[in-house]
Every structure is written in structure tokens, then in C-alpha cells.
Amino acid sequence: MKQRNILAKCVLIVIGLFYVLPMLSMARFAFQRVPMALLGWDTLFKRWTIQPLFTMMSDPIFRQSAFLSLRLAFLSALVTLLVLVPTVVYVHVSMMRARPVVEIISVLPFVVPAIALVVGIAGAFRDLAPWFIRSDYSLVPFYVIIALPFTFRSIDNGLASIDVKTLVDASRSLGASWTRTLWSVIVPNIRVAVASASFLTMTVVLGEFTIASLLLKETLPLILSQSQGREPQGSFAVGLVLLVITASLLGLINRFSRRRNMAQSVTLL
């Protein structure tokens, strides 16, 4: 029995190192002004600076892409909620038998990988509505689609954990209209799910590269990739910050849903 415990500890230590070391390497590369050739035990703690991050952040191209990505993130979160919340609420309140259908639809994005999707997007929209994909904001609906499997699960779980039908019946019997009920009764009770869905969408947007790059939209991940040559430290620094932000958002989701005892999964599992 004891040997199995030791083996378990070893496995976790090795994997822990595997997870941590690349991040550390990235941090070292980004924030230490010591070239690899000169790096030794004596120089390990010398010349650490956050400067590369600031250099990058003051680059106008970078700023533009960062703001674009942020705008896209907020818009995508908003559209996600607008598309999902009324639909899923309706299903839970009036038409539960539609739920399996909606669930299957929400999983469809998995079947069409981003690269295949963007091929189809180019083909479909270039001829039908070229004005659409000329705009940067055309990315929004596709981001909503990509995040759909996770965001649907989030809202669905949130509604499942409160007794929506009873709440709606109570609210309606007290005289509230449908909109009032939705806004004042249902949404406040699924705050955690709504926040989770929003954060999930935002993390998707901040990390999405495939569609943006192939539709030539200059989002943050794209600029990051392009800056690798001319601003290596800066781009790595921003990459690390991006990871930290993503991790924090996902961590917050986990913390909130655990407190509310919701079965929230950030990976559809």
C-alpha cells in the first residue's frame, strides 16, 4: 500500500514540474534581460525587469489589437447571453422536451473544428455578403458559436439547479410580465451561471487564433504571433499575462460555482 502512495506522489511531482517549468521558462525569457548563453547560477537572479511588458503595451499596433480583442470579448459575451439565456429559460420553463435537441445543437461546434469552419465561412460569406466579413466584428457570432458547448452547459446547469417553473409561476401569479420575470426573478438567480458563461466566452475570444488569423483580423493573439520576431520578449511577456488572465477567469468560475454547489465544468466534462 505504501509503495503505491510513493508512486502516486512521484507521478504528481513529475507532472507538476511538467506543468510549471514551461511557464517559468516563459517568464524568465520575457522578464530577464540575460541572454541564454550568459545564463548561469550566478546570473540567475540578475536583471529581472517588467520593462518588456511595458514596451509591448505602448506599441500602437499592439494596443489596437488588445482593444479590439477586448471589444470582441465583451460583445461576444453579450451576444452569447442574448442568444442563450432566453432560449434556455424558455426550454426549462415551457418546453423541456426540446432540451435534448438544444443540447445536441450546442455540441455541434465540436464537430466542426475552427480551421474547417473558417474555410466554410470564407466560402459562404465571400460570395453572399462580403461586407460582413470585411468587418472586424464579424468574428463575434463565430466566437459565440465556438464557445457554445461550454456556455450552454453553464446556463443549463444554472437553470437546472433552481426550480425555474415554480419561480416563474410565483412571479406571474403576483402579476409580473414575462420580461419583468426574466429580468428580476430568473436572471438574479442564475448570476453565477451568467458570469461563468460570460467569462468562458471571453477566455475563448482572448485565446482564439485560427479564425482571426485566417480572416486577417488583427486581434491580440494574431499580433502576438506576428510580434514574435520583432519583439520577442514583449510578446512572450504579453503571452504570459494572457495566460494568467485566462487562468484567473477560469479560477473565478470554479470558485463561484463551487460555492453555489453547481456542477460547473469548464471543459464540458
Binding site: 507532472i15 524568465r28 466542426v112 480551421i115 474547417a116 466554410g120 485565446g207
Partner: protein
């Protein structure tokens, strides 16, 4: 809806049939915007992909056939090999990690830390991950240098982050946590009562694993393999960033077509490649979902 009910209870039964029909259609109406949204932004592009892939045939072969012959055949095999290997390794290592977490589970902190980080790492990909591994195992990588001081010369051995095994290592960064997250609930679901019942009925350790534990875990293991396979197969950004756009992987190859670097008359090939990707993903994900259902049925 209440109006419909009262009317149908008053009217003659002849009128009930059409009313039920309209009631049922009317029920689906509020979901129409959602379905419409998905139809326009997901289904339509997918349909277009297949339309163009199965469309007019320029040249000696249909695009769908040509997409899996010659150099593209090599790409598909390369992609599938990469996906299969990262999937198998991910399954093995991920299950070991999940097993270790469960075994040391009395310490809540360990479990939370690993589960939390796995949730983040499983979604990691794309540019930042590629950067991290370039910084770690690249030519000027920190770990490369570290290993050199202990006598392991990665560069000398011909290891490159952009090569097959390099990409395998990078993909494992999100494959392992993904499998961990799949296997944790599966291992949790192995109730200790079953082990006791099996022992009580005469089963030793080996028989317990052979007749009870393994059969119960098998659906999750296979489902995990399929998910990891699909996950690796469809990955684009990481491969692109590591190889600076020159990888032999199918997703990256599709890019060439989109950027117009094609021999004229062969644009449909890009669509065909994409269509094959969708087919492979559909098969994998369907298998995954079916196996998950079965595993979940036992976990009530």
C-alpha cells in the same frame, strides 16, 4: 397557451387535431432564433464546405478523393499519427495522474490544485502555449540548457520543438489535463463497496480489476482516447505557432488554400481537406458521446 387549452376543451373533438399540431409548432417558435443563429453561422459554412468539396471536378480526380492521396495522404497520416500518439500517451499519463490524485485524495488541497490547474491547462493552446514551450525546449530554451548541464543534449539528439516529437510534448500539455478531468469522476465513481462486494464474493485483487474495475473504466478510457484524438487532430494555432506555418499537419495545410497559394483549379482541394476533417471529427465525437452516456449510466 392557456387559451388553447380552454378552447380545445370546449370545442368539438374534430377541431382538436389541427390545434394540437399548431400548438406543437408554436412551441418551437421561441427557439427559432437560436436555431437560426446556429444555422447561419455554423451549419451554413459547414454545408458550403461539403458543397464545394463534392462540387465540380477539375482535373483527374474528385477533390474528396484527391484530398487523401499523394502528399495530402501523407498529411492525413501524419496528423492522425500525431493525434493517436498524443491521445494514447495522454490517456496513459492522464489516467495515472487521476489515479494518483484519487489515491492521495484525503488531502483536499492537492486535489483542488490539480483539478483547478487541469481545467486551465486543458483549455490552453494556441499562441501562449507555443511560446511557453519555445522558451522551455527551444534552441535557446531554459530546460534545454538545464538538461545540457546534466549531460542530456537535446539539440545534439536532433530534437526540435517543431518536429513530430516536439509537438507531441507540447500537445501533451493540454492532453494530459484533459484526460485527468475525464478520469477523475470515473475513478471516483468506482465505489469502494464494489471492491468489498467483490472480495466478499471471493475475488482477489487481480480478479477485481479484471471483472469489475476495468470493465467499468473502459468506456471512459475509450471515450477519453476519442476526445483527445479529436482534440489533437483539430488543433491549429499551436502547430502553426511552433512551426511558423510550415507544418505537415492537415489543419496547417488547409491554410495554404485559404491564403490563395494554390494552383488554380484546385481550390476545392482545401474544401475537401476541411470536409474530411469534419467527417473524422464527427466520427470521433459521436463515439465519445455514446461512450460517455454508457459510463454515466452506471454512475448514478
Amino acid at each position: 397557451m392557456s387559451i388553447t387549452n380552454t378552447q380545445s376543451s370546449r370545442g368539438p373533438s374534430l377541431r382538436r387535431a389541427p390545434r394540437l399540431f399548431t400548438h406543437s409548432i408554436r412551441g418551437w417558435l421561441p427557439i427559432a432564433p437560436f436555431i437560426g443563429f446556429v444555422a447561419v453561422f455554423l451549419l451554413m459554412p459547414a454545408v458550403v464546405v461539403f458543397q464545394r468539396a463534392l462540387g465540380r471536378v477539375d482535373g483527374p480526380k474528385a477533390p474528396m478523393v484527391e484530398a487523401i492521396t499523394g502528399q495530402y495522404r501523407k498529411s492525413f497520416i501524419f496528423s492522425m499519427q500525431l493525434s493517436a500518439i498524443t491521445a494514447i500517451l495522454g490517456v496513459i499519463i492522464g489516467t495515472m495522474v487521476a489515479g494518483s490524485i484519487v489515491r492521495l485524495g484525503h488531502r483536499r488541497g492537492i486535489r483542488n490544485a490539480f483539478t483547478g490547474y487541469s481545467a486551465v491547462a486543458a483549455n490552453l493552446g494556441g499562441i501562449p502555449l507555443a511560446f511557453a514551450f519555445l522558451a522551455a525546449l527551444g534552441m535557446q530554451g531554459l530546460i534545454t540548457k538545464l538538461l545540457k548541464t546534466t549531460g542530456v543534449d537535446l539539440i545534439g539528439m536532433g530534437f526540435k520543438v517543431s518536429d513530430f516529437w516536439g509537438i507531441v510534448v507540447v500537445y501533451l500539455y493540454f492532453q494530459i489535463p484533459l484526460m485527468t478531468l475525464i478520469m477523475l469522476p470515473a475513478l471516483d465513481g468506482l465505489k469502494p463497496t464494489w471492491r468489498e462486494a467483490a472480495a466478499n464474493l471471493g475475488a482477489g485483487d487481480r480478479q477485481y480489476w479484471r471483472f469489475v474495475a476495468l470493465p467499468l473504466l473502459l468506456p471512459s478510457l475509450i471515450a477519453g482516447f476519442l476526445l483527445l484524438f479529436a482534440n489533437a487532430f483539430s488543433a491549429y494555432a499551436t502547430a502553426y505557432a511552433l512551426s511558423s506555418g510550415s507544418s505537415k499537419l492537415v489543419p496547417v495545410q488547409i491554410r495554404f488554400f485559404l491564403q490563395g497559394n494554390t494552383i488554380t483549379g484546385k481550390e476545392n482541394l482545401g474544401y475537401a481537406l476541411a470536409a474530411w476533417m469534419i467527417i473524422i471529427m464527427t466520427v470521433s465525437m459521436t463515439g465519445f458521446i455514446m461512450l460517455r452516456r454508457r459510463a454515466e449510466r452506471w454512475r448514478r
